[in-house]
């Protein structure tokens, strides 16, 4: 699993009308192991999961998420954004082993 980790992706419209509420969908690869499961040899698999996702728009906080091990492997996340001005949406994912990934997407508001 550890070689298949990260690779964050954001999917959203690249342009919107002012005031329009658009959906942002994201995906990242992470095992999201709980630390409660054992492998075939009976050894506990350590907890390895994303704990926080921070979303900003033009560097201003938009949405902060705290996750537990109950979030499925390779977490998918969708949320909304009110298009008020053109700019960049940025997402930063952090896991409990020091892993940090980020991705961004540009929005043009007409």
């Amino acid at each position: 699993m550890s070689d298949n980790i990260g690779n964050p992706m954001i999917r959203m419209a690249s342009s919107a009308k002012k005031g329009e509420i658009i959906e942002v969908r994201s995906l990242i690869m992470n095992p999201m192991t709980t630390g409660l499961m054992k492998d075939k040899a009976g050894k506990l698999i350590p907890a390895h999961f994303i704990q926080t996702v921070n979303v900003t728009f033009n560097n201003k906080p938009l949405l902060d998420i705290d996750w537990s091990t109950a979030v499925s492997a390779n977490p998918y996340l969708a949320f909304k954004l009110r298009a008020e001005s053109s700019g960049t949406l940025k997402m930063v994912w952090k896991d409990n082993t020091g892993g940090i990934w980020s991705a961004d997407s540009k929005l043009t508001v007409a």
């Binding site: 350590p46 938009l62 705290d66 979030v71 998918y76 909304k80």
Partner: protein, 170 residues
């Protein structure tokens, strides 16, 4: 002259490589110490709670919250795979600077740790909306509690999801 620079560059590179190797060494040890290095600000107390009441109390300071039709939780009636149960959360709110949903908490009653996720919204979201996939150990209730910017709490009706294969295997 050239030789001196080369030697310096070499020294610099060696030192940097040494630092990276040390960092990698620490990185290898880290995953063994589960929860030892939580991301700063991650609410460990609420997430580590083992029963619903404790998780609710740690997260929102209450164990009972009145149900409001404003809080909508959508989840499948039957989930074949408890390892990935899609849930959609939608809260009816104007999302203006004076009146918005500040935080949302998602619980699964009997999961080993009932608090599944916590969301902190801003008015710029335009809508208090989340879609994600969660793990469920067995057939159980999923519930959502929303908190407005004024601190008012409201809950969704508990939503039962029948789980055919528990999500603890995935």
């Amino acid at each position: 002259m050239n030789k001196t620079i080369h030697r310096r560059q070499f020294l610099g590179t060696t030192l940097a490589t040494g630092a990276v190797a040390t960092a990698a060494g620490i990185g290898l040890i880290r995953p063994q110490l589960a929860f030892a290095d939580n991301v700063p600000g991650w609410p460990a107390k609420a997430f580590d709670a083992k029963v619903l009441k404790e998780a609710m109390s740690n997260a929102i300071g209450k164990t009972q919250v009145a149900v409001s039709p404003k809080v909508k939780l959508t989840a499948p009636t039957i989930a074949e795979n408890g390892g990935a149960v899609p849930v959609t959360i939608e809260i009816d709110s104007p999302m203006t600077t004076d009146d918005y949903i500040a935080a949302v908490y998602l619980f699964v009653d009997h999961n080993p740790t009932p608090l599944a996720s916590q969301f902190t919204f801003t008015p710029a979201c335009g809508q208090a909306y989340i879609q994600e996939r969660i793990k469920m150990a067995k057939t159980d209730n999923v519930r959502v509690v929303a908190k407005t910017n004024k601190g008012e709490l409201m809950a969704s009706a508990p939503r039962e999801v029948k789980v055919t294969i528990g999500g603890c295997g995935g």
